[in-house]
Amino acid sequence: MADAKKTIEIEILRYRPDQDQEPVWQSYQVPFTDDMSVLQGLQYIKDHLDGTVSFRWSCRMAICGSCGMMINNKPMLSCKTFLREFYPAKIQIEAMRHLPIEKDLIVNIDDFIGKLESIKPYIIPKAARSLEQGEYLQTPAQRDKYEQFSSCINCLLCYAACPQYGLNPEFTGPGVLALLHRYNADSRDGASAERMAVVNADTGVWGCTLVGYCSEVCPKQVDPAAAVNRNKVNSTLDYFYRMLIPKGEASE
């Protein structure tokens, strides 16, 4: 029986900018087996039923972060979600919420990429070491401080989960703030003062009201809500620290 083909209804929110004024639902009947992911269901549609359906995908194994979408109104990776979980009910698939739809299930991620660049998501050493001096060493305990936050695959499910980002796209958002924390918490990095400007800004961590859905939908257990809210503590400390110890280009 395991190989017997069943048929599931998949509804896709279509948006073709050249012909649609607004998105419309379109339904497809998709034969499937128990080992098929939602992504494979979409690939079946594109190959056999309707070649005009557009969606992003690459690795098929929850590491590239390309195939995020709203599956029955929940942000999920379509490669990591199986059709059998929904059968015999139908599935509704929509592009990730809170992001502009470019076409069908494809969203525009330019805003995210810009924010990601702004936090300098790479290690900026405290003091550069020459080749002779060797590598930048780190103990396992030091690594544990940021390791969880380094699992982010930039899939943007947390942005699709965050109503504060939907209401105000200026908000830096969960994913980028979690990655910011990943570098600030790294013992080899020396640029945290620079990144604190992003944390402290109106569009930084204080835009978060701890809805917590970002951590719920994260496919890599990064827990962005934790990164954001720990940085509210850091931001407060940073504020008082700068008040107590004024620095800068004072009147010399």
């Binding site: 900018p17 859905y213 719920e216």
Partner: protein, 130 residues
């Protein structure tokens, strides 16, 4: 020539679209009950300051069915808020490492319930021994 025309979806009624968001909005709404309760308590304090008659009037007003129902609702709201706060507080706490192990979120939540239980029992003991 470009046919790009990015479509931005409306956020209207966003919090009704998902159970997680509804629970969040209820959590936020509990603050209304806390604020009204604080005002009632403040009124009681002012009554106490202005003499025995005012204080007794306030005590009588607290026994009205409306006041009792409000206090039950406010208690329910406070308990709901407490449960949700204890559940999310590990996200605000720094990474606590004891020995070589990270203290799990569930331990931080459990510790808060334990502290709350001790405080309530102490308060009850004080109230009963007066």
């Amino acid at each position: 020539m470009t046919t790009r025309k990015p479509y931005i979806r409306s956020m209207q009624g966003w919090w009704l679209k998902n159970t997680f968001y509804k629970k969040y909005m209820i959590r936020e709404a509990t603050s209304i009950f806390a604020a009204i309760y604080a005002l009632i308590l403040l009124e009681g304090l002012m009554a106490l300051a202005s003499g025995a008659a005012a204080w007794n009037d306030w005590l009588v007003s607290m026994r009205s069915p409306v006041a009792v129902i409000f206090h039950l609702l406010a208690l329910a709201a406070a308990i709901y808020h407490t449960i949700t706060w204890f559940a999310v507080s590990p996200k605000v706490a720094p990474n606590i490492i004891i020995g070589k192990q990270k203290v799990p979120a569930v331990a931080i939540t459990a510790l808060q319930y334990a502290i709350a239980a001790i405080l309530y029992l102490t308060l009850l003991w004080v109230a009963l021994s007066i």
